[in-house]
Amino acid sequence: MDGKIISIQVAIIGGGPAGIEAASILSRYGVQVSLFEGESKWAHNIGNKFKLFPDFSSADELVQTLSQKIVENQIPAYLSTKIVALEKQKNAWVLTDEQGRSYVADTVLLATGYDIFDAKRKEELGYGIYNGVMTSVDLEAMLKTGKITNVLGEQPQCVTFLQCVGSRDEKIGNHYCSKVCCVTAVKQAIEVKKMSPQTDVFVFYMDLRMWGQGFEELYREAQEKYSIRFVRGRISEAASTFDDRVQIKAEDTLVGQPLKMSTDLLVLMVGMEASCGTKKLAACCGIDGEYGFALSKQPHLADNQTAQRGLFVAGACKRPMSISDAINDARAAATEIVEYLKIVPANKK
Amino acid sequence: MKRYWNEYQKKIADDKFFYERSCIRQTFFPGSEAAFLKMLREELGKDIYDEANQHTCTGIGYHSDIVPLQTTMTVVARLFALMTEAGYENYVPSCVTSFGVFTEMVEMWKHNPELLEKTRKILYDTTGRTFEIPKNIAHPSDIIYKFRYELKQKMKYQLVNRFTGKPLRVVEHIGCHYAKIFPKAGVGNAEFPYVLAGMIEAWGGEVIDYPERRHCCGFGFRQYLVQENRGYSIANSKKKFESMEPYEPDFIVANCPGCTMFLDKWQYTIAEMENKTYDKNGYGIPVLSYEEMAGLLLGYDPWKLGLQLHQVQAEPLLNKIGIAYNPNEKFTGVSGKILPRPEKPHNLLV
């Protein structure tokens, strides 16, 4: 610690959609907030995406709009400032960043978000071993280039998506559903089809959970308009073929027959896990729940509060969440914080 | 509420009926048809005509794909011609399958007038007869249902257990061809079949609503006629018995002669095959036709009604209702001749 201490009313850790939204609302209420982001870009998880479900709006535009909010509301914002420790001291919270700088805040909002599942842990699917195996995040990057290519740089004949990689799987210890992958796969499948109409697109799923507005319609459109094939079955193993394609084995459970096929690209729909920051900070202040996610006080009426007074949570640090859910959750958290600040008088300064 | 219920009613003629007997009923339950005629003529004072020259409607052959459609139509047309010739307009077929066949043919003619014309022509060419389509086709159970309160006035007994004073618990079974082919053709339609339930409730009994109430009795012509397929037939009956067993019914009443027969006789077969009966005491559940039920309550002699011809014997039921009967006359025929005693079943008590 270099002794320099910055004092803040509300510190928001995490500059994703939840953090930025909460910050802008709080500052509009006249609350003095500071926003901390470990990465060098705002909302980097969204920034890695091409288009967003269900309306195919541009991800970059959303990042732009969110960043604009920081500027408009003149929020003190710290990029590349990774908070590594969070500690309660009397009535204040002390935040410490990687460089050893400390910040003191009356109230803290944890919006540290998620990380994607490391697909290498599912070794049988061959991520990092076979060239044709990629994650949904890799595919977004490829979509951003505007061109879909196979390993050889040609237009792929076949692209296959596999759901539930790193979620709903006791083999890697994640029993939960990651919620957004189902619709993401449908969205990506449509995008692949749009860019490369000749490509056959398959989606292997265990259950398709089209929970949001417009999702079911998107699924239907994918089947009807884009002829995307949905196969109910889990791909158990992948192997490479002599021509550097990926051979996959699954069972079409609705037909009741094993299925073996080769595909140019196997896209693993990797689920969400608690981010490093979430795991570390939630554990710091004893609000770590299952799988390392932050634990809210109560799921219905106090979903933004925690067991610690003055510590709030919002967004995907609690559980897998879509962008819109995270933004809504941040608004709810902002309301909670405003209420909280009213009853806690400024006890110092 | 009543308004909606009215939508589930069917038109049943008041008087002047042309009666057509049933192959199965007149063979297995001859007392039933006699009792029905007696009830209509003597108790209700109606005009019902019992034609001597009548014949089969071909229903069993028709549903077994043995008799072609045109043949059936012509046979039905001949029956209608007999009615027309006798000067009647209200057709009353004793058999539920006949009822279904007539309804079906009439409906078919309504939609395909050319078929009607062809049938008229064939009938005329072959027999020289002409016919009119009946104004009203009603099953005898419909008629008894319609006059259930009138009959109640004359009844000596009620469907009440005289030992406990509680209503008898009755399983009602309606033939599939009654309201499942043309739902509107039955009282209460296919949704709320009320024809038998109405009688039971009116006469003091309690209807049992059990899970497989609407399930087929298992007759199924094609299933029954081929011996190898009878396993399916009996399996259906068994399913119904298993379903009604926990409700401990006092007896079963059916409006279809086939159902009455199979629900009765299969109890014997199941008892022989699996040594299982569906009542507590091993006698089986008595199965009555609605005519027999009405006849008993009106005080007709059980043996004249032909109850001794049933597989499951009715004495325990008669005792419950308190109907007087002479056990010595059980096997004395209508003509006074002593009938041969039937062989005793191995497992079913009689």
Binding site: M206, S236, Q257, P258 | Y232
Partner: protein, 123 residues
């Protein structure tokens, strides 16, 4: 008495006492089986299934259908290599399932309720 026919057994799966008993007996031997969500991962990875039409989920179906003879034949194809158990996302102990069924279907050996049930309820 021989009637020339027998009562056909129902084909529908109903939560009858016998049906419940059938499931209970299996789940007693292999408690994890309750978790199966029929994803087909086991069949996909099956070593024997790469040579021949062998479907582990069908094993379950044959069991529920009460077709124990066919089930026995199907089970003989399994090499017990354990890959199915290794990929199951719900941690179903499939090798245990197969071994228990194999033992239960063994004609020369009778030891528990499970086997009695199978013996008496063959379709």
């Amino acid at each position: 008495m021989d009637f020339g026919f027998t009562i056909s057994k129902p084909r529908s799966i109903e939560p009858t006492e016998a049906g419940k008993e059938q499931l209970r007996l299996l789940e007693e031997q292999v408690p994890t089986f309750r978790r199966c969500m029929n994803c087909g991962g086991c069949t996909a990875t099956c070593s024997a299934g790469h040579f021949i039409n062998f479907n582990i989920r069908k094993v379950h179906n044959l069991y529920r259908w009460g077709q124990y003879k066919e089930l026995d034949e199907e089970l003989q194809k399994c090499m017990l290599c354990g890959k199915c158990t290794l990929v199951c996302p719900r941690g179903v102990n499939l090798r245990s399932l197969i071994i228990h069924l194999r033992k239960a279907l063994n004609k020369d050996h009778l030891s528990n309720d499970f086997q009695h049930f199978i013996r008496n309820n063959n379709r």
